[in-house]
């Protein structure tokens, strides 16, 4: 089976051509990748697709109403909306510092939600 996919790991956006053979389903042939990460991406994409997400969390008494956040490691694609639900429920008090862990082990994914900017108290 041959599939085309775009590697999203860097802006090169390599157009990967991925061939899966029936005899050895784990052994993928990956063409068109400009770097070795492309093969790893293709493998994950077929067997366990993962994503990182970024969003924001409400801040009380901050100079800004929101602090931008991200998760500190990729999570299974199927968990994205569960993680978003927890992020939306969360509220923190200013000051927040860049790198602060705001939610630990979010939605049981083992990833943490961390602040990506600092928000001072007003």
């Amino acid at each position: 089976m041959t599939k085309e996919m775009v590697c999203i790991l860097c802006p090169n956006s390599c157009n990967l051509i991925v061939t899966q053979s029936d005899k050895n389903p784990d052994g993928l042939k990956v063409e068109n990748a400009l770097c070795p990460k492309g093969k790893e991406y293709a493998h994950n994409e077929l067997f366990n697709p993962k994503r990182t997400i970024a969003s924001s969390i409400l801040v009380e008494e901050g100079e800004l109403p929101l602090v931008s956040v991200k998760i500190d490691k990729p999570i299974p694609k199927s968990k994205i909306f569960e993680v978003m639900k927890e992020i939306k429920k969360a509220k923190v008090k200013a000051p927040v510092k860049i790198g602060d862990i705001l939610i630990k082990n979010v939605a049981g994914t083992d990833a943490n939600v961390i602040a990506t900017k600092s928000v001072d108290k007003i």
């Binding site: 775009v6 999203i8 802006p11 969003s55 860049i98």
Partner: protein
């Protein structure tokens, strides 16, 4: 009147990188001016990740990317004026500033233009119908959602497939809105392929190519749009009109370098890039006025804008020392077959140059050829040339010996 060695206008990724680099190479009399209260420019609202892979070898969100530079700025004690507008810029490199403290005229030996770009709006493209609430440019929507905590709508149509629009499609979906469709009038998307994949395909948001909006419906608030398929010439196909109900329309129809100030000072602007015409030292037609980042041409990555800022810092230093290459015979660089633009537009031939260009159409397995009349100077294979991806070819000083003109083309 205060006189500075270098004044940088704009503290986004290009301006910040230029200011810190100048300090690193020993130019100390530097002033960085920013019109917003916070430094960082557009990256403050770009909370998604994917920045910094080239500059910092890791993937950062926009705010994290800025933070790296802000730390340096503090360590190097760069003089910064934020919340300050440059109201006028004059050809003698004097300028009038306006800030909370009042107005002041200052002068610079060298000026670096780093004002970035702005969005095309609905007025700039042709759109019939009323102008109800609920129509936003993608960047304004991004600011409202990511900085001001304002949800812009529930049922969204996005016109134009630029990167900001694609990023917003994902952002809106994660926040619980339904993005109904993305419409693109061209036969290909103008966004990076990775963004089509991770922002649209991941969330099953359809992208309709050769399709555009012809009418906005609704009085107080938008109630829907009429969209239509386009033929190969870009003309609406009769009978293909359809209506879709929505409460929000986002426009992601392109970015334009912000050059009001430059124009006023007499800087010559290129008709295709929308930015200043520069030589291989990134100097404009006004001696000592340089340009870097999105004000020069719209970049696809913040990293490239920053690297351009650093490059310009080196040239500004050499300008102050009087050691920039001099010539009477500039070599004109032309965008040939299949190339939308090339930068810089003229070169001295006395230093190595990294030619930056964009192709006009997506293709596969092509060669980029650089020629002097019929003589081939350089050839490079590109696997997936795409207008959304900036390409580059380095040409060494030795390869430019005896060259009269340069043309970049696709084969």
């Amino acid at each position: 009147m205060t006189e500075k060695d270098v004044v940088i206008i704009g503290a986004g990724p290009a301006g910040l990188a230029c200011a810190t680099r100048l300090k690193e190479i020993g130019v100390n009399d530097v002033l960085l001016i920013e019109r917003e209260k916070k430094l960082g420019g557009i990256l403050n609202q770009c909370i998604h990740d994917g920045f910094g892979l080239h500059k910092f070898k890791e993937t950062l969100t926009g705010p994290e990317y800025i933070e790296r530079y802000l730390q340096k700025l503090i360590n190097y004690k760069v003089e910064v004026l934020s919340d300050t507008m440059v109201v006028n810029l004059f050809p003698d490199k004097s300028m009038i500033l306006s800030g909370p403290w009042g107005r002041e005229k200052i002068k610079a030996k060298a000026v670096v233009l780093a004002m970035g770009c702005r969005e095309r709006t609905a007025g700039a493209i042709w759109l019939a119908g009323s102008r109800p609430a609920g129509v936003y440019t993608a960047g304004v929507a991004q600011r409202l959602m990511n900085i001001d905590n304002y949800m812009i709508g529930n049922e969204v149509v996005i016109l134009g497939s630029g990167d900001v629009g694609l990023i917003m499609a994902r952002r809106l979906t994660l926040e619980g809105a339904r993005v109904l469709m993305v419409l693109e009038k061209l036969p290909y998307s103008s966004g990076l392929p990775r963004n089509i994949s991770q922002c649209l395909n991941d969330y099953d948001i359809p992208l309709y190519l050769k399709t555009t909006v012809t009418r906005i419906h609704g009085k107080a608030r938008i109630e829907g749009v009429t969209y239509v398929s386009l033929d190969d010439e870009g003309k609406p196909i009769p009978g293909s009109e359809r209506f879709i109900r929505c409460d929000t329309l986002l426009l992601s129809v392109g970015l334009i370098p912000e050059n009001e100030l430059s124009r006023e000072a007499g800087v010559a602007i290129h008709p295709v890039t929308g930015g200043p015409i520069v030589n291989d030292t990134y100097q404009t037609n006004i001696e000592g006025v340089f340009a870097a980042g999105n004000v020069l041409h719209v970049h696809d990555l913040a990293d490239w804008a920053s690297m351009e800022g650093e490059l310009v810092a080196d040239f500004a230093k050499r300008y102050l020392e009087g050691s920039l290459p001099q010539t009477q015979n500039w070599i004109e660089v032309k965008a040939g077959e299949g190339i939308r633009y090339v930068l810089p537009q003229r070169i001295s031939g006395k230093i190595d140059v990294n030619l930056l260009f964009r192709v006009s159409f997506p293709a596969r397995n092509k060669h980029i050829v650089i020629k002097d009349k019929d003589r081939i100077i350089k050839r490079k294979r590109v696997i997936n040339p795409h207008p959304a991806i900036m390409e580059n070819i380095e040409v060494k000083r030795d390869e430019l010996k005896g060259v009269q003109s340069l043309e970049v083309m696709i084969e």
